[in-house]
Symmetry: C2
Subunit: 348 residues, 2 copies
Amino acid sequence: MSSNDPSASPTLEHVAKVAGVSRATVSRVINGIRNVDPKIQEVVRAAIAQTGYVPNQAARSLVTRRTNSVALVVSEAEHRTFDDPFLGRIFTDPFFGRVVSGILGVLRPRGVTMALMLAETQEARTQLIGYLKQGHVDGVILISTHAEDPLPRLLTEAGLPAVLSERPFTPLPISYVDAAQAAGAKLAADHLVGRGCRRVATISGPLDMPASRDRLEGFREAMARHGHAYVPSVEGNFTQETGERAMVQLLAEYPDLDGVFVANDLMALGAVLALHDHGRRVPEDVAVIGFDDSNAALACRPPLTTIRQPLEDMAARMADLLLEHIDDPGSPPRSVIFEPTLVVRRSA
Amino acid sequence: MSSNDPSASPTLEHVAKVAGVSRATVSRVINGIRNVDPKIQEVVRAAIAQTGYVPNQAARSLVTRRTNSVALVVSEAEHRTFDDPFLGRIFTDPFFGRVVSGILGVLRPRGVTMALMLAETQEARTQLIGYLKQGHVDGVILISTHAEDPLPRLLTEAGLPAVLSERPFTPLPISYVDAAQAAGAKLAADHLVGRGCRRVATISGPLDMPASRDRLEGFREAMARHGHAYVPSVEGNFTQETGERAMVQLLAEYPDLDGVFVANDLMALGAVLALHDHGRRVPEDVAVIGFDDSNAALACRPPLTTIRQPLEDMAARMADLLLEHIDDPGSPPRSVIFEPTLVVRRSA
DNA sequence: TTGAAAGCGCTAACAC
DNA sequence: GTGTTAGCGCTTTCAA
């Protein structure tokens, strides 16, 4: 009698009965398969509307082996715990919103949803892999913020379709999207030198991240080409606070600085604050260039000259690649590199 | 032969065969149901380990009618489109990270995942409801940022377990968690008056949000009790930029202001910047109080005195309530109100 | 072009 | 305490 129970949500069976056809036909109409008589299509659609039918995702997944959802996994270094400001940091960084925005822009039109997952401890990572293996999602976009992250390898081994937000630290057969970090740093170096800076330093991101390394090395290399053999650097961790501290330290060691390249805008904001606190005018005394073109760049006084990465486009491309891998599991891993650009504002 | 295909991932059937027991028994040990001989449990666990078995979530959902996932839906006002800075705004606002953090703190230990969904147009909302009805998730946590949002009603009608992040604009049989907004505003008023401010104004949030209204009215009421019959106000939309603009406008109309209550920290940050640009010292000339105690409060120079809502706790409570409703679909809607506190820093 | 029927992998009565 | 069995709701051969 279950097919007559009005309290249960309608199934294909109900619709079929109402339309006077078989389940198979209704299924075909719903899945847009041709070879269905237009008249019957009409009838079926009417029946669907009448019954208020919506397909059951679990039943569908069981046979298609597709969930129509992907995971956005944010992975963070080992030593941090859940209570640390990690979450606040990542979600607060404008970076994250732009990434989500780019991803959702391609996922939503295709009816694919995004589950947000965190992996900030070893335990969480193991759990996560197990979870992903259960077939909860069709693929994974991984935002990994440190080098020794085992997740890229684990994902590869698990055979899950995946795309990284950065070139993996260790070469791996996995797709990734990245920006030409060194080229961006070169843009900054050229600009600083071009405006006449002679004593230049840099504040880098965490050096266990490939992106941070690339920016630092790219910057030094470009400065070297301009004849500056040595560029002092202090390491930060992408927060405003560490940017501030790093600047204070730099100022103590090199009081006559006249230019700083900071590896992201949030730290640059902190650096500008520190500079201000120490009586330096920006850009008159010290020119500052950030990285990202996040809204922190605009929030800063003066507004930051910065290096822009097309984050939304990059994220969208990640989603594209992932969808491709899901549709064609055999497709070889691909890499897509975006070019950063210089955005000139007032700080340099 | 399918049960012998080594390329397919192992099923209960395989494990059962290896362990020399029935599917049901394996299922029992997996789901931790007692009444299973300890010895057999051992054997089964060994078989599970040996085969590398992981349960198929779709199959499980099909029979249990549970997905073990909930949706975090962020709903935004009608007129905004996907390309608008909406996403950047919401994800950039420190508010969001704290909420996610609180939710995940209770969800993850229970093995429940969180899908992130957006509803920023009427179309997206309709789609969303359809999607949710498919049984993709067990329940919904709704962060609604405007009053006329039809989602709370639609969710109620759809009979989906749901919890709102705010008292619904129109009374509805639905659970929600909120902060005592007016009480928070009163804290700000008392502090401003206490430090001697005589000409006080306020910058409110969007007035189509109950929380904004409550803060504004609560502030005015408290000021009235202190004898201040009229408090000028300008409406912002919670961004730094609108805070800045609102402050400029206030300054133009009331040049002798000596105190401002701003409905969130981000706008307060903008207000402080504007004050600074107009040669006013904070707090000497004008005292400023924010709301939220987000990290914008610390980023501000001077650091903001602000009203703190225990966002993480509130979010955690939302998750708790939702899980309760999922476990007991018949339980009546509940409301939980948290008390805000005053955090004194340097701006007031 | 349509229908009948066989599962997808799992849980939960119900029997033993 | 354990096994048998009947589905959950859907897609997809295979026949007709």
